[in-house]
Amino acid sequence: MATIGIAFGNSTSSIAATTKEGKLEVIANPDGDRFIASALSYVGEDEYHGAQAIAQLVRNPDTTIVNFRDFIGLEFDSIDFETSSSYSKVSCKPVKGSDGKVAYSINGELISVDEVVKRHLKQIKLAAEDYIGLDIEGCVISIPTNFTIEQQKSLISIAKSAGLEVKQLIKEPSGALLSHLVSKDSLSEDKIFVVADIGGIRSDAAVISVRGGILTILATVHDYKLGGDKLDDCLVEFFAKEFEKKYKCNPRKNERSLAKLKAACIVTKKTLSNVQTSTISIDSLADGYDFHSTINRLRFELVGREVFSQLTSFVESVVLKAGLETIDIDEVLLVGGSSNIPKLASNIQFIFPESTIISAPSLDSKLPNPNELICRGSSLQASMIESFDNEEIEESLQPIIVNTQHIAKPIGIKGSNGEFIQIISRETAYPIRKSIKLKTESNDVFIELYEGERTIKETVIESEKLSDDEEEEDDYSDEEPDVVKELVYIPGQLLGQLAIRGVGSGNEVEVIVNINKDGKLQITARSGEVVVKGEI
């Protein structure tokens, strides 16, 4: 019996499981794919799944179903296919099913989206069972943050009919962030993250605060029209033009040509994430002409410039939606297949201050594949809750436990130089207990508990002339001096004062701040035998 984590995406799905050795592994399907295309194709009597189904897009687009995840549990009439969803135009078109939901017409037979998802999950389960060699009984599936309750319910029931018991549904950005933090072993550090999930046909971004290992989503944005697919389209357009110029025939007018070109462009795009130059080569693209061309990364970045800038502003928009500034963000985590593109990471790096870490594979090669993050997070969660009963899990997910009070402003004490020493960060869920150890300067010390006020400290850095090398570099920025913005909290509202006597100068005082579930704040100062307590 094993419990697996499934990242179920519109474009690809992936599976991760904890092996007997306690190692987390992303599982490959029998084709050897770790990112299994969420696609099903019906040719004659045969059913194709994954990459094999995607291959059918060229020959049998009408019986190949892709990008169906978002349609789970939705009424056909409620979907605005033009604005709120995007699906591959060269595939089986969704139609209204007998139950009013989305369905696909395959060889004159209506297959509901539920059935499609069920068949897809069955394949996923099979692949996992083949790989692990154990029966799969439970799973944790990731869902987008804007999945409605109905959609969640139908996903659970579909999974059940496919033989998978959903132990928990987790949200994609939190799953990805969990896996990222666990792999870096920094779950207990207080930070604010932007998790940008740039997928195939849609993009999602979320601002998540991590406080004492507890994740809270502060804001989310979604764009159903933005994703790697758009970049593919740019490349398609670029090469189509080139082809047209060369052979005087338009490959876009023929559906098969277009599908061929698109498939080749996807490969080229992925290659360009790793190398500077890539070739594209298609036999008999249109009118019997073969197409062969090369493209370098810079060209690609120019071709997709508009999409890249949209993606950048998309990431920026979520920060604004959370009521924050880019300076408040400690780290940006790029998730999803398109995060491999170096240009995307460098663009995002540009809009955030230098203090913000951008976690993208092109900037830090040690990071795991961004496409794996979500399924790794799901699997982590799966292995953590494996030992729990279903009732225990259900109990833990009750609103009374999940909906928690968060403190609005940071709490800290005033240091001897008037500075604010933060103990509890803002947006921390309570009950919480935190402690800090501070040095004393005299025998009797005074602890003043404050709420912090957020201020931006601007420091102008004068360009220093140290060596010839640096001088040359400085030439670019000599026009305006560098202004480094820094987020600084200063003592604001005074909460309480506490005196601790007879601790001796130079000793350490441990200050423990405890906020209980009713919002009562208790402060304890301890140094050796001397203990002083207070409650607000």
């Binding site: 809270t216 501070l438 010390v445 309480g496 607000i536």
Partner: protein, 425 residues
Amino acid sequence: MSLPAIPSGFSGDFKSVSQLSASIKRPIEPVGQYFLAHATRTLRGHTWSEFEKIEAEKNVTVVDESNGDEEFNEDQSAELLATDPRHWKECDLYAVLGLTKYRHKATEDQIRRAHRVQVLKHHPDKKSASGGLDQDDFFKVIQKAFETILDPVKRRQFDSVDTNADVPPPNVKSTYDFYEAWGPFFESESRFSNRQPVPSLGDSNSTKEEVESFYKFWHNFDSWKTFEFLDEDVPDDTANRDHKRYIEKKNNNARKKRKTEDTKRLADLVKRANAEDPRIKKFKEDEKAEKAKKKWEREAGARKAAEEAKAKEEAEAKAKKEAELAAQQSKESGKKAKEAAKNAKKKNKRTVRSAVKDNAYFGDESKTTAIDADIETLIDAFDDVTLGDVAAKLTGADSATAKQVLTTIASELKSSGKISSLKYF
């Protein structure tokens, strides 16, 4: 970062100034271990310190007590160190590696660590540095031992013939405690068992089932012991194939023979232990006692009936005897009474007769015959009671009174018609 001094004008320990800013209610993400901890705390209503205490108790890891690799640095005898590498098979490979403490129980990790310790100690580079060349004999033995012990198959072959790990069975002629003497022997033999776990010998408190299963196990012992290690080296050269085959055949036969011998040895010892086992004897006795008890119980009904019958018989016999006795007694007493009555009658008669004689026939000497005849008639006529009365009245009476009494009674008897007439009265 440090803390300031207390400003003047502040007294007391703590002063609360204002409340926290209004909190914001948000859903937290139900992922990660910290969330699980949060959920547990909230569900169980634990405070932070309680929770930390519980968690701290959970996360206690046992400290590894082993004292590093120093334990493998065992003293090796000069004899061992002087082993000719050509005869490496003859020496104790565990002693070579410094694993005598563990022997067949040594883990792979321990073997590797022990090997490293020995290599560091006996490496030829080190030896030649301290003078003398070609000092790699023992090093070769170490390498051979390491190869053998690390390979699970070869290790079993060596373990099979590792007599140093064997515990000898108790000497037949000596006296010994059964459990102390046989326990270690069986424990040491159990390492060859294909079936694990092996039942232990137990102690005097073991149940009959345990003891039986123990002997059943050992009677059907399934051993992996092999004797390849003692094989004669098969010549490598292909020149003389016949000779090679001959050696191989010889080895095979030797192995078989040794295996049979070993099986027999163990079977005999198990048999011996079984015969000596005080528990088996006890169980037998218990069984006997039990049987007897059972029999006793089974026959309880019949015995009771017999007892009852016997008791009844006895009671009857007793009653009969008593009745007889009573009858005899009553008979005897009747005789006596009769005799007494007879005697009394005689005495009374005598009294009556003597009363006449003593009173000199009331002065009428002449009528003696008539009076005697009358007296005899009266005595015959008297019944026992009258005789007694008359005798009592006549005892000590003077002649007038006696005459009076006799006359009265004579007239009474006459009137009642018992006698017809008297001569005197």
